[in-house]
Amino acid sequence: MKRRKFITNVVKASTASIVMPYILPTGRLFAAAGSQMADHVVFVLFAGGMRQQETILQRYLDDSQGVNFPGNIMYNLFNGAAPTDKIVYGTDGAVPGLGDVPIPKILSQTFQQQGTIFKEMRSATTGHYGGLNGLLQGNTLSSQGLKRKPINPTIFEYVRKHLNLKATDTWFIGNGIMNSVPLLNYSLNEDYGVKYGANFIAPNVVFGNDGQKHLSNAKVYDQVDELEPMYKTKEFLDNVWGTVGSGLVTIDNTEQEKYDIKEFLKYMYANPSAVDMPAVSDNGDATTIGYALEIMKWFKPKLSVVNLNNVDVCHSNFTSYLRAVHRADHSLAHLWDKIQSIPSMAGNTIMIAIPECGRNLDSNAIHDFNDFYAFDHSDQNARRIFGMMVGKNVPANNLVGSENNPIGNATDGVLTIADIFGIKGQIPTQYLAANSMSMFDNL
């Protein structure tokens, strides 16, 4: 009897020690986290308002210009034959400006074959900033103002806080600094906020003309003989100031991380030709992807969010829009292809791509040099978007939803990433849209 009681107690104690909540280094008491599906996530905010008709529905000019020329111009993403006539979306062949040479396909298997496509999702809003906030906050806050940092925590803050990550483990890579994009790397939320924010970089600026001119010629100081006394003096000055004021509100990289970032900048300025650009990199989205790859190679971020938006040229130029859509597909394929050769990320990454919004059903009055009409984004059609997931533990060859059966929302991105990292249960639901859920729960 005693022996049985002893064994029972041992089993109880062992069970308790396994399931008992434990304290994370964040200082908060949490129940045990779920298992991780992959060690890295790349989330592509794709790519400035994509119209369902020219993307997943593969109608090319059919549903926009009133001419019967359908076809798939995103043949890395989706299965389907490319248009056979009226090719204007490629690179220039013999005649400059014609765009009549489609970019060769990169992937041997489309993302549709490798992963899961959500055919018909709904965006948070029909605008860019609201859409981007929806993707990063998991909410459709009507009170979220333009030119204002996110009100509710972003996915960067969730993963940094609940996985106890350092700042350089999360990167937000924007293709520019317009449309308040630099504000999206952390929220104003008191429980999260800047101390859990991501490093932001707009590489086309930092490594473009402005950066080359003003950042590339940094003086090299000796770490011990020069930098240390300089920092010590700064520390003294800051301590004096600290009695009356605060410092800059900024991302809390450690000294080692700051050093690492400066070394990265130095490397990039010294080796501009080493950037792993897509074969066709004649727009800002493509170059952003090239620089994003360099950030991934250098820092191996746990979470990388890449924002593309060249597609938005559709407000005034439909031909350029088609080219940007085609290049976004090409760039996304290049990104995924090259991730497979980054140590620790290869075979251990999930990539998600969701547009922040779609585009209108009807055109506006502007027509371009091909006489194609342009499209804005403000009607119900602009809420129609698709979604894509690929990588470790993502079901392959999987189509979810249809035109008549929409499944999933843009706001699902946050819980999906949390799900991948095993922290879904730790995300406070009051900050999320009521219908927000992990895309894995929709499979």
Binding site: G242, V244, G245, L265
Partner: protein, 160 residues
């Protein structure tokens, strides 16, 4: 009853209006706030860069360059790091105006007074003077450029 009330009123009047001991001993009251306490506003990126440039080059930054450098700051999330990179680039320009180390060490007092006026637009306190003078004296490799950089990157310099 009336007498009692009259007595109490007199008593309170005496207490209220009686002489007070002068504890000032003829010394005027002074403001004991720290000298930098009035700086409450964070400089904008444009303000920071144009003031920094004026302090280091003693001339105004062109409008074009101001926009370009401001873009560089906006394009980077870690403001401290990007400020450091920008200052470091400024220090590498041939026309930056930094006093020589021999001038700094010839009269540290005056040098420090001038740098506080230039960067912080205020007088140096005795405590600050004491610390920095000793720091410069015991670190012979410490240069004026390093001191300028520390001021340019300091938290107080971000405010006005």
């Amino acid at each position: 009853m009336n007498k009692k009330i009259f007595f109490l009123v007199c008593l309170f009047s005496i207490i209220i209006f009686s002489c007070k001991k002068d504890v000032s001993y003829g010394v005027d009251a002074i403001n004991t706030m720290p000298p930098n306490a009035q700086k409450t506003k964070l400089k904008s990126n444009e303000q920071y860069i144009s003031i920094l440039y004026a302090n280091l080059f003693q001339k105004a930054l062109s409008a074009n360059e101001l926009v370009e450098i401001t873009h560089c700051i906006e394009a980077f999330g870690d403001k401290e790091t990007i400020h450091e990179v920008i200052v470091s680039n400024f220090m590498n320009k041939p026309d930056v105006i930094i006093p020589s180390d021999s001038i700094m060490r010839a009269d540290i007092d005056i040098f420090l007074t001038n740098i506080y006026t230039r960067f912080y637009v205020r007088d140096i306190t005795e405590a600050e003077k004491e610390y920095l003078t000793k720091f410069i004296e015991v670190n012979p490799a410490f240069t004026a450029e390093m001191l300028y950089t520390a001021f340019a990157l300091s938290d107080e310099y971000q405010y006005y």
